[in-house]
């Protein structure tokens, strides 16, 4: 019944002139059997958090509870977690079979139990037909499957994955995503998967933990994070988003550029950041009430939709539309003036950050 609780966790690395805070007061509750994605830009502390959970790093503050009891005094060996590495870390001098047998062997399992574990785990990851291949004979994707089989070999119910797909070719990584989730779900494994790829996190996770600069910014299902981002950073990092800043006029109105826009929710902030997803931006060839003006800078074919880039003042505004090609040609040409608007119900509202540009940099 593995459940992980993290309480006020902090981690500082001593540095030459100042200490670097890698984790800052992290509180988390990881539920049993859930697939969690630890998402964030590089350097946000997500890998450090994962390594603290595994016991590969020691936190400087706070506590980590495994099923209610503190794990801080437990060594890596005692925590009994499966760990999957970004660069696989499969033992290069051992063949596929021996790599998977390593864990059970060093834990002193019986011969029959070792053989059982290796056989079933190789089957899980689809490597049953090559038990005696050496790691350097395998492709990257196969090596990571081997890494996964090895991590699962000792029946640990917690699987920690440190950017397991980022060293792989894009297509193979995409395929392996679903495999990871399928295997974790099938065997009731609690997984924590570190990634900087928001698309990967969205497709794989039941629960996303979004981090930035050592702090947890938001946790929730992929839908919650996409539809109710709690900050400019969250909206920007997950999916694409357009941002505008405005000033409060009344409880229902915001002045944005020279337009007065009605808003759906009350807000007490005086300076307001408005976020609108590109698919919620409407574009027109003629002006209308509360329409913003811009110039069409480029139109990009994205498969099932077109991406419109609109230059509006200093900003670049994105709109996603599913027009048919002939309609599109008739309606808009690159370089033409273009007008866009959005519904009050479709915007996110936050207090405007002091430095919007800094907030949007990752």
């Amino acid at each position: 019944m593995p459940e992980i609780e993290i309480k006020n966790l902090g981690k500082c690395f001593p540095s030459v002139d100042k200490k670097v805070i890698a984790l800052d007061d992290i509180d988390l509750h990881i539920k049993q059997g859930e697939y969690n994605a630890l998402l964030g830009p590089s350097g946000c502390g997500k890998t450090t958090l994962l390594r603290c959970i595994a016991g590969l790093e020691n936190p400087t503050e706070g506590d980590i509870l495994f099923d209610g009891s503190s794990a801080l005094n437990m060594s890596v060996q005692q925590r009994h977690v499966g760990f999957v590495f970004q660069h696989f870390a499969v033992f290069p001098h051992l063949d596929v079979w021996q790599n998977v047998a390593y864990g059970p062997t060093v834990q002193g399992w019986s011969k029959a139990a070792i053989e059982d574990s290796v056989r079933s785990n190789l089957k899980r990851v689809g490597l049953s037909d090559r038990p005696h291949a050496m790691p350097d004979e395998l492709s990257g994707g196969m090596r990571q499957r081997l890494g996964l089989a090895r991590a699962l070999s000792t029946n640990s119910k917690i699987l920690l994955l440190d950017e397991p797909l980022s060293a792989l070719d894009a297509k193979i990584g995409e395929y392996l995503r679903y495999e990871l989730k399928r295997i974790a779900k099938k065997y009731g494994i609690t997984a924590i998967h570190v990634t900087h790829n928001q698309e990967e996190a969205m497709t794989i996770a039941d629960n996303i933990i979004l981090m930035r600069q050592g702090k947890v910014i938001q946790t929730g299902t992929p839908e919650e994070l996409y539809e109710k981002p709690n900050s400019v950073f969250a909206a920007n990092f997950i999916g694409k988003c357009n941002f505008f800043t405005g000033e409060r006029i009344s409880a229902h109105e915001v002045k944005c550029r020279d337009k007065i826009i009605a808003i759906a929710r009350h807000t007490g902030f005086s300076r307001i950041a408005i976020g609108v997803r590109p698919e919620k931006i409407h574009i027109e060839s003629k002006s209308g009430k509360n329409y913003f003006q811009g110039r069409l800078e480029s139109v990009n074919f994205m498969g099932h939709f077109y991406e419109y880039q609109i230059r509006s003042g200093e900003d670049l505004v994105w709109a996603y539309k599913q027009f048919k090609e002939d309609q599109l040609r008739k309606k808009f040409k690159v370089g033409d003036p273009i007008y866009f608007w959005f519904n009050p119900e479709d915007c996110f509202l936050w207090e405007a950050p002091e430095d919007m540009r800094k907030e949007l940099s990752l």
Partner: protein, 523 residues
Amino acid sequence: MSDTKSNHSFAWSKKAAHLGFLSSLLFFVVVIFIPAVYILGYFGNFDALLDPEIIRALFLSLSIGLIVTIFNLILGVPLAWMIVRSKNRFLKWLDNLIDLSLVMPTAALGFSVYFYYGTNWGVARLIGLEGGLVSQGPLLIILLHIVFTLPYMVRSVSAAIMQLDVAYEEAADSLGASPFSFFRTIALPLCRDGVINGAVLSFTRSLSETGATMMVAGVFATAPVLIVSLKDADNFPAAASLSIILILIALLILVLARTAFGKKTFTLPTIRPDFEKKLSGLFSPRNFIVTFVYFAMIFLPTIFLVLYYFMNFKAVDISALTGSLLISFAVAGIVTLFNAFLALPIAYIIARNRMGIGEIVESLNEVILIVPTSALGLSLALFWRQFLPWEIVILILAHLCFTFPLFVKPLVAAFRNISTDQEDAAYSLGAGTVRIFRTVILPQIKPALITGAIMVFMRSLSETGATLAVSQNIKTVSVLIVELFKENRLDEAAIACLILFSFSLVFLVILKKTQTARTVKRV
């Protein structure tokens, strides 16, 4: 038009480069390699081998080499691990001291080690003994050999550990492996080549050292020491036979090591988790023990001559030294300069496998490196005396020969680190061969050049075995130290040692600086 012209000049520069490589190769074979193994031509006269004195010396040398190697494995492997992986700043800093006994001339080391263990000045005083702790003889030889061979072990093992991905250890930990199990099943097999290399270097260096060994051996004679005394007694057949045996042993070791190298697969052995867990308990005081032993048995013996000198400070007439010092520095300087020019093309041939003979040339280079120097010296003397009457020239040629591999090795490593893409990129941008060498390659191999130059200079300054074998009247400073020591003129010997010691300190600092510095220079 201009196209054909540049094509023409390009082809010409290629031909010139080819010619340059061929001539340096010729020089390498004729001046370095053949003289080094010339003595093998005397193969056949083995009556001398029935001489019990020779058998005793061989047996002594081999057993000392073996004991020294085993000790180096026991101390060197954990020491290397500690230096590479420890997070403790002080332990990491130890890294800077390791090379001290490597750049220190062995004659000075012999002096220092003798006073540390063998007299009432050193360690004996610390534990309240009257005389020395260890008298001259096999045990003192072993203690001495450990001091100057340990760096070879530590360096080659730590190079292997640096290549070892930290994630392997984390993976093994997460699978429940105890530290000892990890060490035995993952770290050791993956660092095999480094460990074997360290063992080969320890053994062959121990087998070949002459000067310092003479100082601490007392009435005992190791094989290289015996070669020198046989040669001094004009018993050339016996000296030659013993030399051939030593060379063959060194070659055999090299071949054995080569066949053991590169074994990639490994079978997971049986593991007894509980037992290995208990053994892992020994790992916790490891750093303390290793550090203590290092200081007590390597560091203090190395620098002890400084303490001895200050405890005995006296004004000494050093007129006897100046001539030898001048000769030594002149020889070392000339040899370093010549070697730099010759080692560059040879290292390039090896690293880039020019003309498809890279591997062969590398093996030849390796052979010279492990041939015991007194055997090498005898071989060189026998070869060159046929053509050259001048002792000093032969001395220089001898030093050129045994220091050459030391220059080639770091250069090969440096060339291998430069991707051929960089050369191709420079060619594609229109740079010529010379320009590429000057602006792309030279800046990147500069640290290796400095390292090589220092190793060669110090080795030339410190070598005794080969020097004793080729010289009749000329005395280099290291040879002089041994002689002064034997004549009990300790104060003069101490001064000479101190001068060499200061040089090795300076060079060590430069060595460390070049290893860490990254120089950027304008094209």
